[in-house]
């Protein structure tokens, strides 16, 4: 969460009225949005901060830098394809990347639970060091706190990142126009479904790995090839692509129309979603991003992404239209359509 600093003198109105914090307030969907906009934003950022992006820009001695922070809470700590340490580095690097910035330095905070085995901690610190090296970012400072046994799930990690603005690109949801193309870097849902399966509670197995990675190389390739045409980017983490696109639709007041047959989803992810009654558009990703690109740059953008390492599955998945305003609509080849809302709470498996 971040926003331009704009404290004004008017009294703020607190719209958040839920009596207590529920898990849903952290799930990245509607409830999270309500908490952020109803409580944090009015008290911390003032009344009208404008659209909330993945990172904020601040100016220091005339130089613009991007800054963001993210906390990582994941059970289990490690899972096929990654672990909390990698997520903590890549997540923050990605938040900066989709804000049009290259991560330069990270600050790390560990909250450790008494009783955490040292080898587990060491493995996660090693994973962070490797992820930071791969992403080309320096870990510059850190802090450690320990809480009593039973007060945390082994460990929590918070990373704060500062980044240099990439040249030739400006990210602003309000610059999105009718006719723009919606791009997706690769298949949806790998991370969320991997975690759901790795928890073991559902007794499901599949050959599936989290997609956690730095998307910076793909973002850089996109910006080099189509920078002036890139209007908006977002990494669809918790809440999935549906939530990210709903936020965009609301911020720009236009309709996001997706073509169902163009949305890449692995068969295994689709199978798990069918079995559990989930929608891949609501499932979390950790190594993909969405971009809105003006139509004349769309081909160049897809070409550049497809040629970049890890971008071969990039696709145009939809386009921006005037209607349905403020809404995400998925259309099918046979002419059916459905509205896809933001996620409400956590995605829960259903039987009916």
């Amino acid at each position: 969460m971040s926003a331009p600093a704009a404290m004004d003198a008017n009294p703020v109105s607190i719209r958040f009225r839920d009596p207590q914090i529920e898990m849903a307030h952290g799930a990245g969907g509607k409830a999270s949005r309500k908490l952020v906009e109803g409580l944090f934003v009015p008290l911390l950022f003032g009344a009208a901060p404008g659209p909330l992006g993945d990172a904020a820009q601040v100016e220091i001695n005339g130089t613009k830098v991007a800054i963001t922070t993210d906390s990582f809470v994941v059970k289990p700590l490690s899972f096929p394809g990654g672990s909390i340490g990698e997520l903590a580095v890549n997540g923050t690097v990605n938040d900066l990347a989709v804000s049009g910035a290259k991560a330069e330095a990270l600050v790390v905070t560990y909250v450790l639970e008494a009783g955490l085995p040292t080898p587990v901690l060491e493995a996660e610190v090693r994973a962070m060091a490797k992820a930071a090296h791969d992403a080309g970012v320096r870990i510059a400072a850190g802090d450690t706190k320990v809480v009593e046994h039973g007060k945390a799930d082994l460990m929590y990690v918070t990373t704060t990142g500062i980044g240099r603005m990439l040249h030739g690109v400006t990210i602003d949801p309000r610059s999105v126009r009718v006719g723009d193309k919606i791009l997706l870097s690769g298949p949806l849902g790998d991370h969320g479904i991997t975690i759901l399966l790795a928890r073991g509670e559902l007794d499901l197995e599949a050959d599936l790995r989290s997609d956690t990675r730095s998307v910076l190389p793909l973002v850089e390739a996109l910006v080099r090839a189509a920078g002036p045409g890139v209007r908006w980017m977002r990494d669809p983490t918790r809440g999935g692509a549906a939530t990210a696109l709903n936020e965009l639709a609301r911020d720009c007041g236009l309709g996001m129309v997706l073509f169902e047959d163009q949305i890449p989803v692995r068969d295994t992810v689709r199978g798990a979603c069918e079995l559990l009654g989930l929608d891949p558009l609501h499932i979390a990703n950790e190594g993909q991003f969405l971009a809105v690109v003006s139509p004349e740059y769309a081909d160049a953008a897809i070409n550049a992404l497809s040629l970049a390492p890890g971008g071969s599955e990039a696709q145009v998945i939809g386009e921006v239209r005037e209607q349905p305003a403020g809404t995400v609509l998925v259309t099918t080849l046979y002419g059916g359509s459905r509205i896809v809302d933001m996620l409400v709470g956590d995605p829960l498996p259903r039987i009916c």
């Binding site: 849903a24 509670e201 209607q323 349905p324 046979y334 059916g336 459905r338 509205i339 498996p349 259903r350």
Partner: protein, 375 residues
């Protein structure tokens, strides 16, 4: 064959929709899809967009979460408030509000609440936690009841003492009867519940055709299944027939599943009556655990308050359930009653017609309205 994608082929869908348009002509038809799974599929696949306007689909009562009265949720949660009890339920139940909040809200306050995918997973929890009692909050129609029954038979056979079932299983036929008995009901035909019929078969619907003179087609859940069922209903209606037909032959045997019915008969007996949210009390419409399995029946094993909670008067769930009102015609729809804060039953489950309408449809309707006002 994967038995899924084959039934989503765009060109066949378009052709089926064309055939429906041809058969429907200009007459207005009102068809009820009994099952919430069909309601969900109709919205999920956007089938309303390709059906002619004179085919009106009315959403029926077949959503076990929607029809569960709030008092039952309170009762189940009150058992779980006793020390060392684990509350296990399907994900569907987790956000359903009781008077003191939903299972998830109770979990946030410290209750041991677990989401299970299967009743057998709840029994597994009991095996893994011998010092705790696992109470499985069972919901569902005849599709789900046999799985609960078999799980209880396994618990009995293995002598697992720390497991019980809070049984809310309901039966579909009395609910259809209640709807047909409603004086303000005008229906031409029924899209019959496919997965319930894997268990009960097609015979139990014969009275609908014979006595009520309404065609019913037991239907699958893929877009082509639903469209083909509508074609079959239209053919019957045009021929002036009223029969039970089985569109979902690849899955539904005409006679149902004997082994599943035996398991249900072994463990359950009919309740004299049961309260349905929105429909009121319906006689012989639900199952309870019989005395042979009393040890595994949470209602016999624990003190249950059994309090009745009346639904907010302003919510018009009953009218929507019976198809008298469309979801958005309810006074509370989209204002006091939303998927995040459901007031009425039908907003609770993603299968509930109000929730489905809210998620998938109402802004589309608003969009059409705004476009036509411009024009």
């Amino acid at each position: 064959m994967r038995f899924v994608d084959e039934f989503r082929q765009p060109e066949l869908i378009s052709r089926a929709a064309e055939e429906i348009r041809r058969l429907a002509g200009t007459r207005h038809y009102r068809m009820m899809e009994v099952c919430g799974g069909h309601t969900h599929a109709i919205y999920r696949f956007g089938l309303k967009d390709i059906l002619p306007a004179n085919i009106e689909l009315i959403h029926g009562p077949g959503c076990p979460v929607c029809v569960l009265p709030m008092g039952r949720i309170d009762d189940g949660l009150s058992i779980a408030q006793q020390p060392d009890v684990i509350f296990a339920a399907f994900g569907d139940m987790m956000r359903v509000p009781g008077t003191q909040g939903s299972p998830l809200e109770h979990k946030a306050r410290g209750m041991d609440v677990r989401i299970v995918y299967s009743p057998s997973d709840a029994l597994k929890l009991a095996r893994l936690n011998p010092d705790k009692h696992v109470m499985f909050f069972a919901i569902g129609f005849e599709t789900t009841a046999p799985s609960t029954a078999l799980t209880m038979m396994r618990a009995k056979a293995e002598g697992i003492q720390n497991f019980s079932v809070f049984c809310n299983h309901v039966t579909i036929i009395p609910a259809i009867r209640a709807i047909l008995d409603s004086p303000d009901m005008r229906l031409d035909a029924f899209i019959g519940p496919g997965h319930v019929s894997t268990v009960i078969g097609c015979r139990p619907y014969e009275w609908i055709a014979q006595n009520e003179r309404k065609p019913i087609v037991v239907s699958g859940f893929e877009p082509l299944d639903i469209l083909q069922s509508i074609v079959m209903l239209l053919r019957q209606l045009r021929a002036g027939e009223a029969k039970v037909e089985n569109q979902y032959k690849r899955v539904v045997p005409w006679e149902g599943n004997r082994a599943a019915l035996r398991a249900m008969a072994e463990v359950f007996q009919l309740r004299p009556y049961f309260e349905w949210r929105g429909l009121g009390f319906i006689s012989q419409s639900a199952l309870r655990v019989n005395d042979k399995y009393a040890k595994w029946d949470a209602e016999q094993r624990f003190d249950v308050p059994g309090v009745r909670v009346t639904d907010p008067k302003a919510a018009q769930c009953g009218e929507v359930l019976k198809g008298v009102l469309k979801p958005h015609q309810c006074k509370l729809f989209g204002r006091e009653c939303t998927p995040e804060h459901p007031v009425g039953a039908l907003m609770v489950s993603s299968e509930g017609s109000c929730a489905a309408y809210h998620s998938y449809e109402h802004r589309k309707a608003a969009m059409v309205a705004s476009l036509s006002s411009i024009a």
